[in-house]
């Protein structure tokens, strides 16, 4: 059974169709890539799944449940965590605190328990701190645990956001360009971490990424979209040979000649 199922969704902004009758599904335990040229609508798909946008039509099912019935903050409780293309970190907080907010939905202490610091709060706090420490250790973030995010280099910040998504123990992670702006070493590290999501945690991954080497090396299947429509679907090998995909990325042969003339 597929974990996430996108059925025929469309959304337009001021007349422009950003997504046009798009359907695809993500099988449990798989790593699926979502690629396409700039402006193809990849991030918009993420924002629909994360409930920031409401599709004009169509259906999004997660484990058979209609995701569109939930609010943005409820999505993570369902088991979907995400990262953002332009990073939405809590800049003035420490790395540890960012990972503690990541577990917000896992803590259910009421106002008065917190205000008077009752026993239950202290137990909860130490539990989520342990969990955060474990994830920081795995991501090599332990030395930065008490640094403010804003003071850290870009590559580390990217990792913090990844870690923040993982710490909520999701079933599905949406990664929006996790390797954008990273140097080759950092990209390799990120690739390894994404691979571990499947091998260690058994988490399903939906990935938007421009680095084709990364996509090819970790994805089981790839969906290609252009102008909000799905133009291809298949294994990495199939996709790299697909003429339509090549056309979408490089433009049609005649057009290129025309431009040269």
């Amino acid at each position: 059974m597929s974990l996430l199922e996108i059925n025929n969704i469309s959304i337009s902004f001021v007349g422009l169709k950003a997504i046009d009758s798009l359907s695809f599904s993500v099988d449990e335990g798989s790593t699926v890539g979502l690629i396409g040229p700039n402006g193809a609508g990849k991030t918009t798909v993420f924002n629909c799944i994360a409930r920031y946008f409401k599709p004009d039509q169509g259906q999004i099912l997660f484990r058979g449940e209609d995701l569109l019935a939930f609010k943005p903050h409820e999505v993570i409780e369902k088991g979907i965590a995400r990262t953002f293309q332009n990073m939405e970190l809590f800049r003035s907080m420490t790395v540890q605190d960012n990972l503690l907010v990541g577990q917000h939905s896992r803590v259910n202490t009421g106002f008065f328990i917190n205000a008077f610091s009752l026993r239950k709060k202290k137990i909860n706090e130490s539990q989520i701190k342990d969990k955060a420490a474990a994830v920081m250790d795995r991501f090599g973030l332990t030395p930065y645990a008490n640094s403010r995010v804003i003071s850290l280099p870009y590559g580390i910040q990217k990792k913090v956001e990844f870690a923040r998504a993982l710490v909520s123990e999701p079933k599905l992670i949406l990664l929006d360009e996790p390797a954008a702006g990273m140097n080759p070493n950092e990209t390799e590290e990120i690739t390894e971490l994404i691979k571990q999501l499947r091998s260690v945690d058994g988490i399903t991954v939906l990935l938007v990424e421009h680095d084709m080497k990364l996509v090819r090396s970790i994805c089981d299947e790839i969906n290609v979209i252009d102008f909000g429509r799905k133009i291809a679907h298949g294994t990495p090998e199939e996709i790299s040979r697909n003429p339509q995909v090549i056309e979408a990325y490089l433009g049609r042969q005649e057009e290129n000649e025309y431009a040269r003339a």
Binding site: L89, S92, S105, T109, S117
Partner: protein, 639 residues
């Protein structure tokens, strides 16, 4: 029918003045994205200059008028340059509030606090057109407003600078790349804005008296007019001003004159909730939503707190203080007030510091707490402790409503609405005299707990100290829990916080409720400690003092809030009797701190501590060798 015609005519006369002030605000906002809360006071100041030219130098009216306008334009350019270092929207808001205080105080020193009368431009006999009585002066107001608006329109449409300014409001970088001098354009914008304000001031002054508060209420109405017309459209703003004037006239002639001043505030709320883009405006990008350049206080929910030794020292000092000054009720009284303001400031910090929401009307919440507590003890017969708690809860409920309204507002709009609340509540307290006793005010019962009557400053000190300590502990607990982290997460990135499961609405409203609860508790204590309350205790001026406390002390820091409260309460003692000098001092301190030292007095303390540490460790390198230096480092870390 005749009365209707007259009401509408009068409405248009006053409405054209609202439109002028609103235009001045919007011109600056559109091109520089800055909102000037000192605008009204600048106009007041220029009007006083005009007054001096008329009354002291006996210049003819037109010369005095032009002189005042030149001054007004220069003043606006000066203000523009003062505001230049301000980085974020909230620091611009606070910096203009500081200027508000400074202008008011300086005008008070130069021209005194008593109202003077300002002559009309034309003093001819009123005449009647279709039965509507018009004075030449009224027609002059309307005519001048229309001419100014036309000139502005032509300037923006045909003058090259005007066109560049329109381009500027669309895209700053591109316009400057096209060769327009941004600096020159900004200067022109501010000068035009200053002239509009100066004209409005001189036209408003004859309708009442000229004093330092000339434009205070007027500014709120101009904001309402601007919001009504849509903050971005010039014709919209003019229509907004005129219709506000007419609607106010209708309300005061057909419903009640008492409602006239609060009407603008009610209208403001309604417009913002129903159609925030106003009559003609486009949806403006919500200020304060994108906080990418915002300087925000650092936060760490697991930072080790004060060491036991420091806590003990704090406790010993605060317990010993009243014994040292036992005979000096004056000092004890101010110490008690300081404690009360500490509670208020810590509460305000929940909003301003930790959640990043501004409130310019916290004196209104203090007032609600104070009046509820006094009424509950004297008219309902509640014991003091129950009234104290109820005051907190009632004010908390008001905070709940404010929080709901604030969900749809951010940055600038929230500042305007809370400013409106701060202006409206004292007026409502004045008018609703069956309950509040109007100007005369109310006497508060002497607080008592059981049979223990708290009637000396010495006893009150311990009552307030106990509540301050509870406030600090509870605040600390909240901030070091998932709640505090959710507040700061929302402040730093709403999208990120929501994706992590933080309910935006719930936590934003919660911050307002907590903040209001503490304001209510502080209000109740204030009433019973001072023994007497009247609307004058809770004016918009006080709201500004409270916000200053936070920024002077340092936002998003409990010691910061406490230091700020102490500073603002204690400083006036040293300048006893001179409201002006201490206001200039506050305003000046606030301005310098907001522009150059974003972390406030608490930040000074840290910087000082760091310098101290560095000096100390450098000494130890030279004198004692590396081993011991490591020892000192460990010691400082453990502190």
């Amino acid at each position: 029918m005749l009365m209707l015609g007259q009401t509408i005519f009068n409405g248009i006369v006053i409405g054209s003045l609202y439109a002028l002030v609103a235009l001045g605000l919007v011109i600056v906002f559109k091109s520089t994205n800055r909102i000037n809360f000192a605008y009204g006071q600048m106009a007041m100041f220029s009007t006083f200059i005009g007054y001096t030219l008329l009354a002291k130098f006996h210049l003819p009216f037109m010369l005095a008028f032009i002189g005042a306008l030149v001054f007004s334009a220069l003043l606006a350019v000066l203000v523009r340059n003062i505001l230049r270092p301000a980085k974020s929207e909230s620091s611009v808001i606070v910096a203009t509030l500081a200027l508000y205080m400074i202008f008011t105080a300086v005008a008070g020193i130069i021209w005194g606090w008593d109202p003077v009368s300002f002559p009309q431009v034309f003093t001819g006999e009123p005449f009647s057109v279709f039965g509507i009585i018009m004075r030449p002066n009224d027609l002059f107001n309307i005519l001048l407003t229309v001419i100014l608006m036309l000139m502005l329109f032509l300037f923006f449409k045909f003058n090259l600078n005007g066109i560049a300014m329109r381009a500027l409001s669309q895209n700053l970088v591109t316009t400057s790349l096209m060769g327009a001098s941004v600096n020159k354009l900004f200067t022109i914008t501010w000068a035009i804005s200053g002239i509009l304000g100066g004209v409005a001031g001189i036209l408003v002054a004859p309708t009442s008296f000229l004093d330092t508060n000339l434009m205070a209420v007027f500014l709120l109405k101009a904001f309402t007019a601007a919001v009504l017309g849509g903050f971005t459209s010039y014709p919209g703003v003019v229509i907004g001003g005129l219709s506000l004037g007419v609607m106010e006239g209708l309300v005061s002639s057909y419903i009640s004159t008492d409602l006239m001043d609060t009407f603008a505030f009610v209208l403001l709320i309604i417009v913002l909730l129903i159609r925030p883009e106003g009559i003609l405006g486009k949806r403006i990008r919500m200020l304060g939503k994108t906080s990418s350049t915002e300087e925000s206080g650092e936060f760490d929910s697991s930072r080790p707190g004060m060491s036991m030794r420091k806590k003990l020292a704090f406790l010993i000092v605060s317990i010993a203080l009243p014994f040292v000054f036992q005979g000096n009720t004056y000092i004890l009284y101010f110490a008690v007030l300081t404690g009360i303001y500490m509670i208020l400031a810590i509460g305000l910090d929940f909003l301003v510091g930790y959640t990043g929401k501004i409130s310019l009307g916290h004196a209104a919440l203090l007032a609600i707490g104070a009046y509820s507590s006094v009424i509950l003890t004297s008219k309902v017969g509640f014991p003091f402790w129950l009234a104290l708690l109820s005051a907190g809860i009632i004010t908390g409920l008001v905070g709940l409503l404010l929080g709901f309204a604030a969900l749809r507002l951010s940055g600038l709009y929230l500042a305007i609405v809370t400013l409106g609340l701060g202006t409206a509540v004292p007026q409502i307290l004045l008018k609703w005299d069956e309950v509040t006793n109007g100007y005369t005010g109310l006497h508060a019962a002497i607080p008592s707990i059981g049979f223990f009557i708290i009637d000396t400053e010495f006893e009150m000190y311990f009552l307030v100290l106990a509540i301050v300590i509870v406030t600090i502990i509870v605040t600390n607990n909240i901030l070091r829990s998932k709640i505090g982290r959710a507040f700061v997460a929302l402040r730093d990135s709403e999208a990120g916080a929501e994706a992590m499961g933080v309910q935006l609405a719930k936590y934003q409203i919660l911050a307002f409720v907590i903040s209001a609860f503490f304001a209510g508790i502080a209000g109740s204590l204030y009433a019973h400690v001072v023994g007497f309350i009247s609307p004058a205790d809770f004016s918009i001026w006080n709201s500004l003092l409270f916000i200053s406390m936070l920024f002077i002390g340092g936002v998003a820091s409990i010691p910061g809030a406490m230091l700020g409260a102490a500073f603002m309460t204690m400083v006036p003692i040293f300048f006893a009797g001179s409201k002006s000098i201490s206001a200039i001092l506050f305003g000046g301190a606030l301005l310098i701190i907001i522009l150059f030292f974003p972390s406030g007095l608490a930040g000074f303390y840290k910087v000082g501590l760091n310098i101290g540490k560095r000096l100390f460790s450098r000494n130890s390198i030279g004198l004692k060798g590396p081993a011991e230096e490591e020892g000192t480092n460990v010691a400082t870390r453990n502190k």
